[in-house]
Assembly symmetry: C2
Homo-oligomer: 145 residues x 2
């Protein structure tokens, strides 16, 4: 049995977790009481008015049930409102409150800084290359039987 920590996917795991913790820490340090996951959802609503929860779940790559629960919290925190969609009563209409709009923009600033810090010293070409490789892995996992 080869050692755990020598595989690419172990490094991928580690990188993902390290970056998440780093990003979350910086958001808290700036005084915002929101998780990265919550912010991602606010951001998808901001970018796509009229979006369904189903579509959000695809964008942020989470389960439908998780989206429901995160949105419940966002409503409780007064970042979002939810109404029944007028023409399809199964759907919901999500709208950012003023507070929600503000925090989405503010945290976006921090996210940009986080990204810059995380990718410091890595050139554009390498980033592109890495993204292509990651896409290839994603493809392999989806197609394979």
């Amino acid at each position: 049995m080869e050692k755990l920590n020598n595989t690419l996917l172990y490094t991928l795991d580690k990188c993902f977790r390290t970056y998440n913790q780093f990003a979350q820490r910086n958001v808290r340090k700036a005084g915002y009481d929101i998780t990265i996951d919550q912010w991602l959802i606010l951001k998808s609503v901001a970018e796509n008015p009229n979006i369904t929860q189903n579509d959000i779940s695809k964008i942020v790559f989470k389960d439908n049930a998780s989206i429901t629960r995160i949105i419940q919290l966002l409503i409780k925190q007064d970042f979002l409102t939810r109404e029944i969609h007028p023409s399809d009563r199964r759907r919901v209409n999500l709208t950012l409150t003023e507070t929600g709009k503000k925090i989405t923009i503010d945290v976006n600033e921090i996210a940009l800084q986080n990204r810059a810090a995380a990718l410091k010293g890595i050139d554009e070409e390498s980033i592109k290359l890495m993204r292509d490789l990651l896409q290839k892995v994603i493809g392999n996992c989806n197609n394979g039987s």
Copy 2:
């Protein structure tokens, strides 16, 4: 605000989740009632007898509290036993049961196949390059203030 899905770290997130789901699905499909996370812990015990829970948490990159709870489940499933360490009563001694040993080895086989499938068509050099880049990101996240 630039679109979410165009950043490297979004792709990283997606890749990580896709691979995890893919790997977990294959383990279930082979008939093993264990999560990848649980298996990783069994594997660290197998590779490092006398390991502490603290060390496990560093290896698998999870919180100490999570490790405690996953280990409780592993004991309930009869894959592990836990005793007090003879010379340091704060520590625990973890030992794989026979069932635990077997499943660790079996799932390792599946993990190897998963890895091969996920990395299919990607040459050694690219893998090394990607690993180095990921390490650099990890370094950036850890050093940065």
